[in-house]
């Protein structure tokens, strides 16, 4: 099970799904969408209610792992390890902007916009930072999960009691 070189930027399709359970397959599609939706909700409202980038990232990872288990290929069309540097860079740069404007590093800013559709609506730069956290957490947990699903099955553990 060798991966194609990372430069292609696509996740290698695994040879076979981990399971052929038809019930899992038919329900996972709906569940996948629901979980993703909920994850984005968590990310969006994190500033004012329970939620945030970390949790949303974990939830997204759960959804993607479920998809991977049910269908055998990743719903994410790129190597999840590539999300790690992007997430880190986004969070870092978000923090850098206030610093360059002469305020403390990572100081967040917020304000209110009123539009006809949404009514009064708060924006916060912290959300950008959270998106960075989100990307990194998705990348990291998926990297670990995919690495573990690709372990060659002939490996056994010795010395285990």
């Amino acid at each position: 099970m060798t991966r194609p070189p990372a430069s292609t930027g696509r996740e290698a399709p695994a040879p076979a799904p981990l399971t052929n359970d038809p019930i899992l397959r038919s329900t996972s599609r709906a569940v996948f969408a629901l979980v993703l939706l909920f994850a984005f909700l968590l990310l969006w409202r994190g500033h004012n209610a329970p939620g945030g980038g970390f949790i949303a990232g974990l939830m997204t990872a759960c959804a993607l792992v479920l998809h991977r288990i049910a269908y055998g290929f990743s719903a994410l069309r790129l190597d999840p390890a590539r999300l790690i540097p992007w997430g880190l860079a986004l969070s870092f740069v978000t923090g850098l902007v206030p610093y360059l404007l002469g305020r403390p590093y990572l100081k967040s800013d917020y304000g209110y916009i009123t539009t006809a559709v949404t009514g009064e609506f708060e924006w916060a730069t912290a959300l950008l930072f959270d998106v960075g956290v989100f990307l990194l957490v998705v990348g990291a947990s998926l990297t670990i999960a995919y690495a573990l699903t690709e372990v060659a099955p002939q490996e056994t553990v010795e010395g285990d009691e």
């Binding site: 060798t2 792992v65 990297t143």
Partner: protein
């Protein structure tokens, strides 16, 4: 100046991105990155009179840590030097590198390196100085190891890094001591008098010297520089002529203003520098690889510069600065020439080459000018600065001038030896048809060679440049001047003696070779280095075998026993463990029962899968506990972490030998239960005893300010992304690194993926087990 330092860093990111897209043309982008450094030229030209500019960017003001850049004459001179050679090296590599090179990686490393070096020479803050110093070590490691599939490149990179990192640690300590003694981290605001009085003075001096010697490859740390030639040739030119290896010289020149008054300073540097001059040039004379010859010649020239700056008087600083300019010009030109020879003939071995002057006339002219400047012949710049060197050494005493003459005679000899590839009957390896290199290769070299010529024919140019550093290096009142002819002086006589000796060395080349072979010491810096690294390897594998060799269950038992002991210790030290902390919230009792049930369930479960799932129970129980204490954020996080952990566990366990009974003897089972139980009790006691140290809670502050300051009603989130955002950034970095570590661990275990490069069979020398 701030722009000049940071622009290359920005462009490095751009070059990394452009590299795969533009290919070799990325070199033009890289050359543009040094533009802000070149824009410092007008500042430099105003220099002998103008006051140095100071640009301060606040960084961590509470720690007296700023990004301060100070454009005094010497710093600007060096920055412009880096800019010029950096530009030329970038342009040269466009024509030099092969089509298969990974351009993005090469140019971004080159620019990171150039930026760190610019920062190093321009910075006025001691802590930032250390930072840039270490960055040059790291980036040069990357550059030397660029062709990392070759074991020689890896070895050279590791060697350079280990040696210069040793010096880096010394510099860190020195910087701390100087800041303590001088009362400031700003180089220009240091109280030199207080520093001289303080007890930190001598240790700081010695540590600074260690740093400078390791970086500038002085004896006995010269071993890393010749192996650093594994880097691509344009990099070598940059590294040797303008940057990395001169960092130590820069340090000695700048810190000479602090330490120069001490007798110890000159008493150590000058002998070490002169010894390096002689030994380096002696080794250079014996090399057959052209690039190795140049590398050892750099070692010797650095010795010369060190000894002059180490004198810490006006004469030494003036002469050293003049020679610094000459050296940059001729050494970069010579590296470019060797690159051309390598490019055209496919080899750098001296015995295989000859008579190249017919095929490469322009290159020959360039090499002639540069090599004769290095040899110290008129009318080239090298001659003038060599006269100044002799002049300075004459003032020190007969022994000094004698050593200087011997070293220079050897320099003369190896410079002429270098030219042998152009003379005699044409000779080149079979298949190679050398012809004149493309202008992309010859033009940078020719420009530098002409500069070397100009420094000699028009001494005023070199003198004006040298004078710019006068106020920064404190030789304003020095009345020396640069001139080709200054009468029949003792220095001129010394030069004539040098030529005579050098001519004898060239004439008796064969005899010198036998002598050299006989004089080779069995133990040299390299054998010591390999001996040391080998010993460390053997020791660490011994240590790992002794400490990490236990089966996993035994390691766990030890950890749990330690936890139990810590709890016992806490109770013993603080018997009043049961500090009154108010009424127990009865609502959490069921949750506690759930947690305990989970823990006991793990013990009772007879299969792996059940054990994992029951372990999950304790995790979900903790989430419930968080909910009971009204922390929905934590509970949510805990729930998700638990879910993901259980999934990961199950994924990892798929391939273990199925669900089966865990074979255990009854005795061992009882023992494990006892250890685990004790550890649980111990940790509980530890937590309870720590309750005594509760400080007043900090939550009211965050409750009050999270909405006012951060604009969020979710205190936890505001805390994470704003108040303690920096912590979060550190944490997610750790998360990312853990993921990459797991990835590499899992991938390394895969069959069919070689863990070492195929050419690893060519092992390092001295790979023997004691």
């Amino acid at each position: 100046m701030t722009v000049a330092v940071f622009f290359p860093f920005l462009m490095a990111a751009l070059a990394a991105w452009l590299g795969p897209r533009l290919g070799r043309r990325t070199g033009y982008v890289a050359a543009a990155a040094f533009l802000p450094a070149l824009l410092l030229i007008p500042d430099l030209l105003r220099m002998p009179g103008a006051a140095p500019a100071l640009e301060v960017t606040r960084w961590v003001p509470t720690l007296d840590l700023d990004l301060a850049f100070r454009g005094d004459g010497f710093s600007l001179l060096f920055a412009v030097l880096i800019g010029v050679i950096g530009t030329l090296a970038s342009l040269y590599s466009v024509a030099y590198l092969s089509e298969r090179e990974r351009f993005g990686r090469f140019y971004s490393y080159l620019l990171l390196f150039g930026g760190s070096m610019l920062g190093l020479v321009l910075t006025d803050n001691l802590v930032a100085l250390f930072g840039f110093w270490e960055m040059t070590s790291v980036t040069s490691f990357l550059l030397i190891g660029l062709w990392h599939t070759r074991s020689a490149a890896r070895d050279g990179a590791v060697k350079a890094f280990l040696v210069s990192a040793l010096g880096g640690l010394a510099l860190l300590a020195a910087v701390a001591l100087i800041a303590l003694g001088g009362g400031s981290t700003s180089l220009s605001a240091l109280d030199v008098g207080a520093l001289r009085e303080s007890a930190y003075f001598t240790p700081a001096l010695l540590l600074t010297l260690l740093a400078a010697f390791t970086k500038s490859a002085q004896l006995p740390f010269h071993l890393w520089l010749p192996t650093a030639m594994e880097a691509p040739t344009p990099v070598s030119a940059f590294l040797h002529s303008a940057t990395m290896v001169k960092a130590g010289v820069v340090l000695v020149a700048k810190f000479g203003l602090l330490f120069g008054g001490a007798a110890l300073w000159s008493a150590i540097i000058v002998p070490v520098g002169l010894a390096t001059l002689v030994w380096g040039s002696w080794l250079a004379l014996r090399q057959t690889d052209l690039k190795a010859l140049l590398a050892y010649s750099t070692v010797s020239q650095l010795g010369l510069l060190m000894s002059l700056y180490g004198l810490a008087d006006a004469e030494g600083r003036f002469s050293a600065t003049a020679h610094l300019l000459n050296h940059a010009a001729f050494k970069a030109a010579l590296f470019f020439v060797v690159g051309i020879i390598d490019h055209e003939t496919g080899t750098r071995e001296l015995p295989l080459l000859g008579g190249l002057r017919r095929a490469l006339p322009v290159t020959f002219a360039v090499a002639l000018l540069a090599a004769l400047s290095m040899a110290g012949l008129p009318p080239l710049g090298g001659f003038i600065s060599k006269e100044l060197f002799f002049e300075a050494m004459l003032h020190q005493g007969p022994l000094f001038i004698a050593v200087a003459v011997v070293g220079s005679a050897l320099t003369f000899a190896y410079s002429l030896r270098l030219l042998r590839v152009f003379l005699g009957t044409p000779r080149a390896p079979a298949g190679a048809e050398p012809h004149e290199a493309p202008p992309g290769l010859t033009l940078p070299a020719a420009g530098l060679a002409l500069t070397a010529l100009a420094f000699g024919v028009l001494p005023g140019t070199a003198e004006a440049l040298t004078r710019t550093a006068q106020s920064a290096l404190n030789f304003a009142d020095y009345d020396g001047y640069l001139s080709l002819w200054h009468g029949v002086t003792p220095a001129l006589l010394a030069t004539l003696l040098t030529w005579a000796l050098g001519a004898v060395l060239v004439w008796q080349a064969r005899g010198m070779e036998t002598l050299g072979r006989r004089l080779t010491p069995r133990v040299n810096a390299n054998t010591v280095y390999y001996g040391l690294t080998q010993t460390v390897n053997v020791f660490s594998s011994w240590l790992i075998a002794r400490t990490q060799g236990l089966p996993l269950p035994d390691q766990l038992r030890i950890m749990l026993a330690a936890a139990a002991l810590m709890g016992g210790y806490a109770v013993w030290r603080a018997p009043q463990v049961f500090y009154p902390f108010g009424e127990l919230p009865l609502g959490v009792l069921p949750i506690a029962a759930l947690l305990v049930a989970g823990a006991v369930g793990v013990l009772l479960s007879r299969g792996r899968l059940t054990a994992v799932i029951v372990t999950g129970l304790t995790g979900f129980g903790s989430a419930a506990a968080f909910l009971a204490f009204r922390a929905p954020d934590l509970a949510l996080t805990q729930l998700l972490v638990e879910a993901v952990t259980v999934i990961l566990f199950l994924l990892a366990f798929r391939y273990l030998p199925g669900v089966r009974d865990l074979p255990r003897t009854r005795w061992r089972y009882v023992f494990d239960v006892a250890v685990a139980g004790l550890a649980g009790v111990g940790i509980t006691l530890l937590v309870l005893s720590s309750v005594r140290f509760l400080a007043p809670p900090i939550s009211p502050y965050y409750l009050e300010y999270s909405y006012k300051g951060g604009g969020g009603k979710n205190v936890v989130n505001v805390l994470l992304v704003d108040f303690r955002g920096f912590d979060t950034l550190g944490e997610i970095t750790v998360v990312g690194m853990v993921a990459l570590a797991v990835l590499s661990l899992v991938r390394l275990g895969k069959p069919g993926r070689p863990r070492r490069a195929p050419d690893d069979t060519a092992e390092l020398p001295a790979r023997r087990r004691p």
